[in-house]
């Protein structure tokens, strides 16, 4: 993996002439986990999509990219709310999908190691239909890890999971994505409070940085300072909306 770059965005996005967000300034420090917290519809996902180079029909005015100036293309991995597993491919073949799509030889041994790290080595030859929702999202995480990109964009990847699986996935992701520049979009104050090195509350016209507790993520969900901080974030969400 190449060194993880910091990300920046400065500008505004419009859709059909109507403002989506901004003008605002966003930075995600290199090799850390940045949470973008906000209610639905304030353009959090739009910002991620702009970084990923995906067309969402919005017009963006301003600048965005990596601080090191090199293009972001081929340095980004994306994890969405839906696991996007291909039902007809085995778990292993889903993990090596990226190589298959680039016409490269899949590194099966590494894929099996990655599957072991997410605890699914025994399921490598199963089809996704045989897995639970939590297991499927772990396969999606394995697929993301397999890409080995320095920048990882997470668009509410755990929001469809039950509370227990969500916590497990948060711990696992924090461990396995450490050292990468991660930007996670979420509408869940508890998740932001657990995961973020840097937490930004987004509303249509501004980003408010809320300094998190001094503990290192993933913070314990029941630690008093995490809970107080979570309340603080929720309060801010209520007031800005």
């Amino acid at each position: 993996m190449t060194p993880a770059p910091a990300l920046h965005l400065s500008g505004s996005a419009r859709y059909d002439g109507a403002p989506v967000f901004g003008p605002l300034e966003f930075t995600a420090p290199a090799g850390t986990w940045t949470c973008l917290l906000g209610p639905s519809g304030v353009g959090k996902s739009t910002m991620l999509r702009l970084f990923a180079g995906l067309d969402s029909g919005v017009t963006f005015e301003g600048s965005l990219g990596a601080e090191d100036g090199a293009p972001l293309q081929d340095r980004i991995a994306l994890m969405a709310q839906s696991d996007l597993l291909l039902e007809w491919r085995t778990v292993l073949d889903n993990v090596t999908l990226g190589a298959a799509l680039r016409g490269a030889m899949p590194d099966t041994e590494r894929a099996l190691r990655v599957l072991t790290r997410v605890g699914l080595a025994d399921h490598a030859s199963k089809k996704p239909g045989a897995l639970s929702g939590g297991q499927r999202q772990r396969v999606a995480l394995a697929r993301t890890l397999m890409e080995d990109r320095p920048v990882v964009l997470l668009d509410e990847p755990f929001s469809a999971l039950d509370a227990r699986n969500r916590s497990l996935m948060q711990d696992l992701s924090a461990e396995l994505l450490a050292g990468r520049t991660v930007v996670q979009v979420t509408h869940d104050a508890a998740e932001a409070a657990r995961m973020g090195d840097k937490i930004l509350v987004m509303s249509q016209d501004r980003l408010t940085e809320v300094p998190p507790p001094a503990t290192t993520p993933p913070r314990q969900f029941d630690a008093p300072d995490t809970l107080v901080y979570q309340g603080q974030l929720l309060r801010l969400l209520m007031e800005t909306a």
Partner: protein, 246 residues
């Protein structure tokens, strides 16, 4: 099993109505022969029926294979290329405005009295449903999957073969199911217009000689074949689709 039982019940019901109509109206045999007489004819003429069935069945199966192949390739071409879409789609729609029946004499003129004019009829009649159902499915790949592929740096060709086509296979099989029902129609029309063998030819021949019982016999063989083909394709498609998800 339940499907087969229902089919059998429906068949018995039709036979009962048929026999009742013959008894109650006393209609002459050359207009509407009784089921028993048709059954007798089927048995007596089994060699003749078999000989002509083989011809029609061959036409239908070759037509389905070629039509499904061509239709599948066309759908992939249309889905892959916006230029092909712009050029071909109006032509496809226009081609549907021409009644296939009207083409049959031309095809016979061009391809002769043999197998190929009937294969061409069957092919033409199934080409559009196969192409359009598969094409629609190819254009409905979940956009998030295409975005994931884009972020992964996928080539368009790999995206087509590894994501879009496998995801659209259920659409292709719906086209095949329609083809199984339509293809026999095409083959029979072809045989009516010009042929020296086949069930359609036999029906015309029997009709011309007032052998209505033989005509019914040929019709029943055709219907049974079409139903069997429909079930075989339907079961085959369902099994294939299920197996790849297990």
């Amino acid at each position: 099993m339940i499907g087969a039982a229902r089919l059998l019940a429906a068949g018995i019901l039709v036979l009962a109505i048929w026999q009742t109509v013959v008894w109650m109206t006393g209609v002459p045999s050359f207009l509407l022969p009784a089921p028993a007489k048709v059954a007798q004819t089927m048995w007596d003429s089994r060699a003749l029926l078999a000989e002509h069935s083989v011809v029609t069945i061959t036409e239908v199966l070759v037509g389905i294979v070629l039509g499904a192949g061509l239709g599948g390739l066309s759908a992939i071409g249309l889905a892959a290329s916006p230029l092909a879409r712009a050029l071909m789609r109006p032509m496809l729609v226009l081609s549907q405005a021409i009644p296939v029946f009207a083409l049959a004499p031309l095809l016979t003129l061009w391809l002769g009295f043999g197998l190929w004019s009937k294969v061409a009829m069957a092919l033409i009649i199934i080409y559009f449903p196969v192409t359009s159902t598969f094409f629609d499915a190819l254009m409905r790949t979940p956009p998030q999957m295409l975005e994931l592929a884009k972020v992964m740096g996928a080539t368009p060709r790999a995206t087509m073969w590894k994501i879009r086509i496998p995801a659209a296979l259920p659409g292709f099989t719906s086209g095949l199911r329609l083809a199984a029902v339509y293809a026999p129609i095409g083959a029979i029309i072809g045989e009516w217009v010009g042929a020296s063998n086949g069930l359609g030819y036999l029906m015309l021949l029997a009709n011309g000689r007032a052998k209505t019982d033989l005509m019914f016999a040929a019709l029943i063989v055709l219907a049974v074949f079409t139903v069997c083909l429909h079930y075989a394709v339907d079961r085959g498609c369902t099994a294939a689709l299920n197996r790849r998800l297990r």
